[in-house]
Each structure stands twice: as structure tokens, then as C-alpha cells.
């Protein structure tokens, strides 16, 4: 058991970090595809070695800390985002028995960890001591806190249906039917909230390069910038895998492939959807984003929870 445990941790870390790095390549290729271009195609087969080149480049960039920055916090902030997202992966069941920590409050742990991510943005923006960074951080904080609220509420639908917070058990509970069907509304809300939570396009308002230079990470360069970069890709992977776990039956699938492969395939589909969103969506205004969250998604998620509970009660009766 002990050996298996370390294998799982090692395997998960290895896969995740490589996935995040690979996403650099994947995203560029996909965007290029949808824009009728090639994208990176020079380094290695299909340009896959761009990942290596990019990483090397980031390592060799000047590791610059602005003299006016709050140095300790400035260094600390990018680490937070990577750490919190990696922690959240601890509860994700990649396959039967492939999970780092099979907690009975797994879902709550995920919510807690993704909430921690906001610190990296706020601290990074604050420590930069730069007006654009601070504006980006302020936007990031309000956006993430707002969307977290109904992200949690949307997930409660699945909890109500499965009767557990344990993610493994939620997957098991979908053997009969994926929750996407009873929880279509919940899925949509979670999906939108997930984009906002990872501040991906179209909700990349904390960055908003056309208004705020680069938002909260304006002052970051080198590997510290790289951490934010990796954190973002890890975030996409996390949200995609949570969608798969909660609504698309996790590792479940026809038996000709092992469960973990099904999980990975499903996750990549959603990662691709994230990239498609980036390729096709315009960025909303900041106030539009907040209004949409509080005035539309929030009531909808409450309704979803209410409806699910009511139906569950009716059926159980």
C-alpha cells in the first residue's frame, strides 16, 4: 500500500506538470488551427519541443524583482497559485483507486483549495506596487470571490443526488447515468464559474492586456512569471477534470480501455473546449461580468439546487 501510494503521488505530479507544460504547445497549435495557421511547427515533431524551448527561455530570462516591489510577497505570490492547484488535485479520482487522498469531504477540499488561488493574484498584484498590477488584482479578487459562491452552490446538485462529498463515490454514483443529464443547468453554471475561477478567456479580466498591460503579473518576468503561467494551465486541467468527475462519469467508460485513459480523454475534450473559447470569444466588460454572475448565474444556481432537492425528495418519497 505504501509503495502504491508513492507511485500514485509521483505519477499524478509527473502527469500534471507535463500536461500543464504540454498545454503550452497544445493551446498554440489549437489556436493556430482555428485561425488557419500552423502554430509552432519547427522545434521537434509537430513543434512539440517548443515546450522545452519555452521553458528554457523562461529559465534564462533575467529574474527581475522591481526595486519598488514588496520583495518577500512578490516572490511568494506565484508559488501560491501552483501549490493550491496541485493540492486540489489530491482529491481528484483519476481512476479506480488512483487518488492521492480519498477524503470524504473531497469536494469541499477542492472548493477550499481553488479559493486559495485568489491569494496569489491579490498578493502578486499588491506586491508589484504598480497601478496596473493592483487594478488587475482587485478585479481578480472580486471576480473569483463572486464566482466561487455559485460554483459551490452549483456543485451541491451533484452532492444532493449522490449524497456524498467524496469524489470517488460521486463517480461511482454515476454508473447508472452521468449527472450531466439531471444536472445540465448545474453543469453549465459550474463550467462558466470554472472559466472565471481560472480567469481564462473570455474572463481574463485580471490580465486584460489591452487595458492593463498584463494585469496582476505586469511586473513579473522569468520563472516567476512562468509559475503564473503554469498555474493557469494547471487550473484549466483541474476544472476540466472536475467537470469530468462530477458530470461526465469520471473514469467510467466502456471496458476496452482502462478507467484512467477514459478520464484523460474526457479531460482533454474539455481542455480543448477551453481553448476553443479563447479562440472565439470576446472579453466582456468588468461590470458585465459581475452583473452576469450575481444577477443571472447566482439565482439560477439557487433554483437548480432547490429544484434538484425537490425532485430528489419527490423521488425518494
Amino acid at each position: 500500500m505504501e509503495a502504491h501510494y508513492w507511485w500514485v503521488i509521483g505519477g499524478v505530479l509527473f502527469t500534471l506538470l507535463n500536461t500543464a507544460a504540454g498545454l503550452i504547445w497544445l493551446e498554440r497549435r489549437m489556436l493556430a488551427l482555428w485561425q488557419d495557421r500552423y502554430g509552432p511547427n519547427r522545434a521537434g515533431p509537430f513543434g512539440i519541443l517548443i515546450v522545452l524551448a519555452d521553458t528554457l527561455k523562461l529559465f534564462f530570462k533575467e529574474d527581475w524583482i522591481p526595486p519598488f516591489a514588496d520583495k518577500v510577497v512578490f516572490v511568494f505570490a506565484p508559488a501560491v497559485v501552483v501549490a493550491s492547484v496541485l493540492m486540489a488535485f489530491a482529491v481528484v479520482p483519476f481512476g479506480p483507486n488512483i487518488v492521492v487522498a480519498d477524503m470524504n469531504i473531497g469536494l469541499l477540499f477542492f472548493l477550499a483549495m481553488s479559493s486559495l488561488g485568489v491569494y496569489s493574484i491579490v498578493l502578486g498584484g499588491w506586491a508589484s506596487n504598480n497601478k496596473y498590477a493592483l487594478l488587475g488584482a482587485m478585479r481578480g479578487a472580486s471576480q473569483m470571490i463572486s464566482y466561487e459562491v455559485f460554483m459551490g452552490l452549483a456543485l451541491m446538485g451533484t452532492v444532493v443526488l449522490s449524497g456524498t462529498f467524496n469524489l470517488g463515490k460521486i463517480v461511482e454514483a454515476q454508473r447508472g447515468m452521468w449527472y450531466i443529464f439531471p444536472q445540465l443547468l448545474g453543469f453549465l453554471i459550474f463550467f462558466i464559474a470554472g472559466i472565471a475561477e481560472t480567469h481564462r478567456l473570455p474572463f481574463d479580466i485580471p490580465e486584460a492586456e489591452s487595458e492593463l498591460v498584463a494585469g496582476f503579473h505586469s511586473e513579473y518576468s522569468g520563472m516567476k512569471f512562468g509559475m503564473f503561467f503554469i498555474g493557469e494551465y494547471l487550473g484549466i486541467t483541474l476544472i476540466s477534470s472536475m467537470i469530468v468527475t462530477l458530470y461526465f462519469g469520471g473514469w467510467l467508460g466502456p471496458a476496452f480501455l482502462p478507467g484512467v485513459i477514459w478520464f484523460i480523454l474526457k479531460t482533454f475534450v474539455f481542455i480543448s473546449v477551453f481553448i476553443l473559447l479563447r479562440a472565439s470569444m470576446p472579453r466582456p466588460r468588468y461590470d458585465q461580468l459581475m452583473e452576469y454572475g450575481w444577477k443571472v448565474l447566482f439565482p439560477l444556481s439557487l433554483l437548480n439546487l432547490l429544484g434538484t432537492a425537490a425532485i430528489k425528495l419527490l423521488i425518494d418519497k
Binding site: L33, Y38, L276, L277, A279, S280, M281
Partner: protein, 171 residues
């Protein structure tokens, strides 16, 4: 909401479109003749330097990356004793070409001038001067302007009468 989904779908359909990329450097993009690339100093049909050192290109340059010194040859032609363009500053806006009254400075369809050392982007006159009339064949400033040079005296330019005899009172 529908429009968003529709645009997502339309973007997705691009998966099946042909790619537009030119695979430079194996495959060169066709550049139009008036492409604003590398700057050159051309020569007139007689093979003389067209540039007369009037400083208008330098004055027109928004990044002030042209500097020169005008001087006069014994035959009366003016020319730049040095002519320097700092291509590390040049934005290829083409204002210098527009300002040039003698068609001397011209932007050519060539952009392959990258260097590893920025210093190599400073072009002197010998780097700029080409053995061609460029885009305006046949134009010779001194044939149009009233200034006398060796081989073209006063009154021998286009639309000029022979010089006046100031000692004559005849109309």
C-alpha cells in the same frame, strides 16, 4: 447567447479549413513592388548619385534615424559626404521616400536584414547606395532643376531658355 455559440461553432469549423501560412524561409512570400522594406539610395540614368543631400528625408523621419552631410563635388553636383541610417531605429514608414525630391531614397521589397549585433544595423552610404534607378527609371533631377553642373549649363535643363544677355535691351 446564441451568437456566442454560433461564433464558437464557426470558429470550430475552421478546423477543416486550408492554412494560409507561408512556410518562410523555405517558401517566400510574394512582396509587392511598393513594399516598404530596406532603404536604398539609387542612381540616376547617367549612373550619378541621385541624392543631393537636401536633408528632407532626415527632417521627415519620425524616429530621427537618418543623418547625413551634404557637400558639393567639383563638377557642381551635390552629394552626401556621409549618409547614415540607423535601422535599429527605423520603423519603415516610408516618409523619407515621400519627402525625397530627387527619387534618391527608396524603400525596397526586402526585409531580410536581421542581425545578431545591433551595431550591424547602422548602414553607411556604401551599404545604402545601389547601382540601380529603383522604382523610377529615367528620372534625372539635374535635368529638371535649374542648377548648372558640369555637362549641363544654365539654360540647358528641361523647359529652359538659354541664359539672358543682360547687356541687351531687346525684348
Amino acid at each position: 447567447m446564441f451568437s456566442l455559440l454560433r461564433s464558437m461553432w464557426l470558429v470550430f469549423l475552421h478546423t477543416f479549413h486550408k492554412r494560409e501560412t507561408y512556410q518562410y524561409p523555405e517558401e517566400k512570400a510574394p512582396l509587392p513592388a511598393r513594399w516598404r522594406g530596406r532603404i536604398a539610395l539609387t542612381r540616376d540614368p547617367d549612373g550619378g548619385e541621385r541624392c543631393v543631400g537636401c536633408y528632407l528625408c532626415a527632417a521627415a523621419c519620425p524616429v530621427d534615424c537618418i543623418s547625413l552631410q551634404a557637400t558639393e563635388a567639383p563638377d557642381g553636383r551635390r552629394y552626401p559626404s556621409f549618409f547614415r541610417i540607423n535601422f535599429s531605429r527605423c520603423i519603415f514608414c516610408g516618409f523619407c521616400e515621400e519627402a525625397c525630391p530627387t527619387y534618391a531614397i527608396q524603400l525596397l521589397p526586402d526585409f531580410e536584414m536581421a542581425e545578431y549585433d545591433r551595431q550591424n544595423l547602422v548602414y553607411e552610404k556604401e551599404d545604402l547606395l545601389i547601382n540601380s534607378e529603383g522604382k523610377y527609371p529615367g528620372y534625372n533631377y539635374y535635368r529638371v532643376a535649374g542648377m548648372a553642373i558640369a555637362g549641363k549649363d544654365k539654360g540647358e535643363a528641361q523647359h529652359e531658355e538659354p541664359p539672358v544677355d543682360v547687356r541687351s535691351l531687346l525684348p
